[in-house]
């Protein structure tokens, strides 16, 4: 573990222990180590002693905001669907949040999914999380049995090999173009603040836009061809909290249930479109996908347009409206057919 990560881990543990011991929070949401190299598990610490299991490293790829609404609800005293909310303050939750995770908390605040007064946010500036799949590719099919994180390198070793790769070369695509790696809201700031400067935030999207339509269609269909419809992308996403997802609607059934190409395509289009203007590009969908589909590019295109057309970036201001829940009289409408009165 690199020194920075070790220090951040220590500080997270200390703060979590302190908050749990003092009774300020009822649960602390962070990460604990996984059973394989380069894996971590989201973890809920409920006793001060659990705090020692918390860790911080470059493989904390899931977005913890995803767990917040359900975790907050689980801490409320049980009540019937028609009972009024309990009087008095409700138990609080502590959570570790990087730039994107904190932005997702802001989106959840805008959409009334979480109550800020019930959150204690430990902000951590992200150095960019590492994509396990990129490391695997660098190991050329050999199983990594141990991965050690240095300051700027990753030491990967297996049964009969050892290699050192540049950490930045294995960082996830979304982190490479992230402009908000510092938390936008937090109660405590942990670790060094990053001052990374990013250019060409949408370069990946521009490259696809430059392709002819047929090539784009081929890219899209090839990308989603291996989809098994496990919905890991949807379930890893902190924006997805509808009680009934559109894929589960049966009348009308928007999306068929098998892996028919048209159904898979519709699933990905509609899933991405539901995230339009709300996606913080946290990359959890891509990190969760067992098949390695780069579905982040779909939501990224929508973010780019929301930014260019409406000047909107998701999750920066708790008071702002999500861009698709509002309008301006002078919104662009060049795409419309308007016949002039003769």
């Amino acid at each position: 573990m690199s020194d920075t990560n070790a220090k951040i881990t220590e500080e997270i543990r200390a703060k979590a222990r302190e908050l749990l011991s003092s009774g300020e929070i009822a649960a602390f949401l962070g990460f604990t180590s996984g059973s394989l190299p380069m894996t971590t598990r989201p973890f809920v610490a409920k006793r001060p002693g659990d705090a020692d299991k918390l860790i911080w490293n470059s493989f904390c790829v899931m977005n913890l905001a995803n767990y917040l609404p359900a975790l907050l609800e689980s801490l409320e005293p049980p009540r019937g669907p028609k009972d009024p909310p309990p009087a008095g303050p409700l138990p609080k939750v502590g959570v570790v949040a990087t730039g994107c995770c904190s932005r997702n908390i802001v989106v959840q605040m805008q959409e009334r999914q979480v109550d800020r007064s019930r959150l204690v946010i430990l902000g951590v500036s992200s150095r960019g999380m590492v994509d396990r799949k990129k490391v695997m590719a660098a190991a050329e099919g050999r199983e990594p049995l141990k991965v050690e994180e240095g300051g700027h390198t990753l030491k990967v070793s297996g049964r009969d090999y050892e290699l050192e790769i540049d950490r930045w070369s294995a960082v996830r695509d979304n982190c490479l173009t992230c402009a908000h790696n510092n938390p936008v809201i937090s109660d405590y700031l942990i670790g060094p603040v990053s001052n990374r400067d990013v250019k060409d935030r949408f370069a990946q999207i521009e490259a696809i836009e430059a392709m002819p339509a047929n090539a784009r269609w081929k890219w899209f269909t090839d990308e989603i061809a291996s989809c098994i419809r496990c919905y890991a992308c949807r379930n890893a996403c902190p924006l997805c909290y509808c009680p009934t997802c559109f894929v589960d609607d049966s009348r009308p059934q928007w999306v068929g249930k098998s892996t028919e190409p048209a159904d898979t395509a519709l699933f990905h289009i509609l899933r991405a479109f539901h995230c339009a203007g709300r996606c913080t590009d946290c990359g959890a969908c891509e990190s969760a996908c067992p098949m390695g589909i780069k579905m982040r590019l779909f939501t990224r295109k929508l973010s780019k347009d929301a930014f260019n057309l409406f000047g909107a970036e998701a999750g920066l201001d708790p008071q702002a409206q999500p861009p698709l829940a509002t309008y301006r009289p002078d919104d662009p409408e060049e795409f419309l057919i308007v016949e002039e009165k003769k």
Partner: protein, 158 residues
């Protein structure tokens, strides 16, 4: 109107033959565009019989799900039409819809759906002639594209 292709169902995503006629689903808002279509009829403005009108309360009611469902079912094109900005019966339904449609159109084109498959327009209740012009334009665009293939769901029965 007796439509052979519609009756024979399975051939909706038909091959481009000489007499192929596109089928275009038109979502028209109750207060403006639907009335505009009505006026076009009453005023005897001719327009191609390729559109199938679905009346919706407001263009703001039309979701991406509906537009894509039409394409999945084999519609060669989709037209969504509502009131001009400022005229919405519900004050801002069309303005909210405008943002959504702009994103959706760009997004579908980004994924390789041909521009011209989905179309949006504003037509008021007094614009019967404009409505017929919009339908002519959309039908022309879709005809030029040929039958839809992408996003169409197929069930093969032996």
């Amino acid at each position: 109107m007796e439509d052979k292709n519609l009756q024979s169902g399975t051939n909706l995503a038909a091959s481009p033959t000489a007499n192929w006629e596109p089928r275009i689903v038109a979502f028209l808002c109750n207060w403006c565009s639907y009335a505009g279509a009505d006026l076009a009829g009453v005023s005897r403005f001719q327009y191609p019989p390729n559109i199938r009108i679905i009346r919706v309360p407001c263009s703001g009611r039309v979701s991406a799900n509906m537009i894509l469902d039409a394409l999945k079912a084999g519609a060669d094109g989709v037209l969504v039409s509502g009131c001009h900005p400022g005229d919405c019966h519900y004050i801002s339904g069309n303005l909210h819809a405008r943002r959504r449609f702009g994103l959706l159109k760009n997004f579908l084109e980004f994924l390789g759906i041909e521009p011209g498959r989905i179309n949006f327009s504003w037509v008021s209740a007094s614009e019967g002639e404009q409505f017929s012009e919009v339908v002519k334009k959309v039908t022309g665009r879709v005809k030029a594209l040929g039958p839809t293939r992408r996003l169409v769901k197929e069930i093969r029965i032996d």
